[in-house]
């Protein structure tokens, strides 16, 4: 029986039509125990499912707190029921998990998990340490075919060739309560927003850029809109920028229009310490317009923590978003089950369920909320047309951190 299965797999591998090639190298940096060179999206299930079932278990690592219930209650039980493979689910702080993975790799030990979900900020470190398998997952996995190729191959300016799957996409935006700001009068660009804020003191609630991603998202959006000099704008995509360079940029002439924008409205706005804090003030009715993460506001509204009259939008100049991703580690204990889990998590069903449950966007091009969701759910999201036209990629994390520090020290510090 064992010989028959082995022979069948060997035949399937030998007939692979469009086998994938390693990225950034002429050979794969991991040896899963089967020939990656003959594996393709066409023969993926025929080859991988029997191997994964034989492995019987998969360890999946998740760096978030927010996705825990979704994995625990839905995706993992669904995966186990579909394939009969037991999932060991591990959650924890990603800095520690990254170091553990790197230490295991450097000592020649097996990777602690078979599939990883980490922040996109971890990619430079993990890629640099050689712990990410150089397998173009967007080509290998059947679920990868529907992914936007640009999003599937480039993350935070790093061209990883598809080794880092965009599992979760998020977007910063502006939320407003239509009870106090009717949708047809809400400011739609930065200048009208500033004018509205000054006319309505305390009603525009802004998360501090150092306190939460929605605040730094607005800061980046202002920078993208107000910094027009081409040489200055090159810094926004300088992914290898150092802390010292970022400090100098924050204090230089390039960013002056951004700080001037904030100084102009600072006495009229409420600056909060976190994303939830901002949403709470909107929920209380104390604020009318605020900065927000789209998925967080979607979730809060769905759970009744924000009134159903709250709507989301992107400013005309565009607002930034990002996301977090999945990868196959080098030298995992159950590589076939790991690959199968990654494929499952990128499937249309899971991505749609994720968007519906927590407002987490997808890089799949075949998902349109208007086609699948109720009108009430669609109303809780940023309008799809705005998302397509106005979503911008985030700046390098180092630059963002130093801009936020400069804001605190020189704008917020009165």
């Amino acid at each position: 029986m064992k010989a028959l299965v082995t022979a069948s797999i060997a035949i399937l591998l030998s007939t692979a039509a469009y086998a994938v090639e390693p990225t950034g190298s002429d050979k794969f940096n991991t040896d899963p125990g089967f020939d990656l060179g003959t594996l393709s999206a066409d023969n993926f299930y025929d080859v991988i499912v029997p191997l994964a079932k034989k492995e019987g278990t998969v360890t999946f690592y998740d760096f978030t707190d927010s996705f825990g219930p979704l994995f625990n209650d839905r995706f993992i039980p669904e995966f186990e029921a579909k394939y009969g493979i037991k999932v060991e689910y591990v959650r924890g702080e990603d800095k520690a998990a990254n170091q553990q993975l790197i230490a295991a790799h450097n000592s020649g030990a097996k990777a602690p998990a078979d599939a990883y979900f980490v922040s996109s900020g971890s990619l430079p470190l993990l890629g640099g340490e050689g712990v990410v398998a150089n397998v173009p997952l967007h080509k290998l996995l059947p679920s990868g075919a529907a992914l936007d190729p640009a999003i599937a191959t480039v993350t935070s300016g790093i061209d990883h060739g598809g080794t880092f799957l965009p599992f979760h996409r998020n977007q910063t935006g502006i939320i407003f309560d239509t009870r106090t700001v009717p949708a047809d009068t809400v400011p739609t660009n930065l200048d009208s927003l500033a004018a509205w804020a000054k006319a309505n003191p305390g009603k525009f609630v802004v998360t501090s850029p150092a306190g939460g991603g929605s605040g730094s998202g607005l800061m980046q959006a202002i920078a993208f809109a107000k910094v027009t000099d081409a040489a200055c704008r090159e810094t926004f995509v300088q992914w290898n920028i150092t802390k010292t360079e970022a400090d100098a940029f924050a204090a230089g002439d390039c960013m002056a229009p951004v700080w001037d924008y904030y100084k102009d409205i600072l006495s009229s706005i409420e600056v909060t310490n976190g994303n939830s804090d901002t949403l709470n003030l909107i929920a209380n009715g104390a604020g009318a317009i605020g900065t927000a993460w789209e998925d967080m506001a979607y979730d809060f509204t769905g759970r009744g923590l924000l009134p159903p009259t709250v709507r989301q939008q992107l400013l005309e100049e565009g607002q930034v978003g990002g996301g977090d991703g999945l990868f196959l580690p080098v030298n995992g204990s159950n590589p076939a089950a790991g690959l199968l889990m990654l494929d499952f998590l990128m499937s249309k069903e899971v991505q749609l369920e994720k968007l519906s449950a927590v407002g987490s966007r997808s890089a799949r091009t075949d998902i349109d909320p208007a086609q699948s969701f109720t009108p009430e759910q669609v109303a809780r999201l940023i309008p799809t047309e705005q998302f397509k036209e106005r979503a911008l990629a985030r700046m390098p994390a180092v630059l963002n951190d130093q801009l936020a520090a400069y804001f605190t020290a020189n704008v917020l510090r009165k």
Partner: protein
């Protein structure tokens, strides 16, 4: 082995549980924190760079003063409530039972719950604001205000029971005969409190002030929830430097500085109390 050596060894063995505990759980971490503050992220060897960055950054210095403010203000507010409350509890059995029950309620409520209670009640658009709005009364800004009023209220709310527990215990230990003698000699309640109860309860008051100040100085959750977006206390900076930036030398330096400032404030407190006591004694 000679008799004196055996004696010394026995003595050391007897001291080991106490001294060893102090060395292992207090001395060693303190040495680690202090030595760690003289390192720099990403480089080996001793350096003053982290301290220079700490003292050279106005954001951190504002954070230090705000930490001290959040240590001192709730302690003073709590003392102003706890002292008369403790004295009232000594007056008779009824007041002891009544206040003795009431003040203990916040004792069992965790700090984060106290923070959320204040947030829900006193924030803009909160319960108090909504109740007062029909009366035309607008609540002053208490949450995220520049003085940290909301944080001070929550910290005081948590501190009063601890302080009262200690001070009331000290006052209860004062002999009733002494208080009766003072009353017999014509002293009123205020004089008894000022000239008899407070001086005799001084060790308890000092302990209560010390514990409250240290607790408030290092608080993290309540200032995070209720404090202004600027300045942030050093405790909040320590968290972000450690867990978001991975800058542990800065965490060590901030921790050392906070501890040093706490010691300085307490020494100043002892000096003031000592001076007041001497003046009181001199007046006879």
């Amino acid at each position: 082995m000679s008799g004196s050596k055996v004696k010394t060894a026995t003595l050391l063995l007897c001291l080991l549980p106490g001294v060893g505990y102090l060395l292992a759980l207090f001395g060693l971490p303190l040495v680690r924190v202090l030595s760690g503050s003289f390192t720099e992220r990403g480089s080996e060897g001793p350096t003053l760079a982290t301290w220079a960055e700490l003292f050279g950054n106005p954001v951190y210095m504002d954070g230090l003063w705000f930490s001290l403010w959040l240590g001192i203000a709730p302690t003073i507010v709590s003392l102003c409530i706890s002292l008369p409350l403790s004295a009232l509890m000594q007056a008779n059995e009824t007041s002891r039972k009544l206040f003795g029950t009431l003040y203990k309620i916040p004792l069992v409520v965790p700090g984060i719950v106290a923070g959320f209670l204040v947030l829900v009640i006193l924030d803009r658009g909160g319960m108090a604001g909504r109740l007062l709005a029909p009366l035309g009364v607008t609540m002053p800004r208490l949450v995220r205000d520049d003085w940290g009023a909301g944080a001070i209220i929550a910290l005081s709310w948590k501190t009063v029971p601890f302080m009262t527990l200690i001070i009331a215990g000290s006052m209860a230990a004062i002999s009733k005969d002494v208080l009766s003698a003072a009353r017999t000699l014509g002293a009123n309640h205020l004089t008894v409190l000022r000239r008899i109860q407070l001086p005799l309860a001084q060790p308890g008051v000092t302990a209560a002030v010390l514990l409250s100040f240290i607790g408030s100085l290092g608080s993290y959750v309540i200032p995070s929830l209720l404090g202004p977006s600027y300045p942030l206390p050093l405790s909040v900076h320590m968290f972000s430097e450690g867990f978001q930036q991975g800058n542990w030398p800065m965490v060590y330096a901030m921790g050392t500085l906070l501890s040093a400032m706490a010691i300085a404030v307490l020494l100043a407190y002892y000096a003031i109390i000592g001076s007041l006591s001497r003046n009181d004694t001199a007046r006879g």
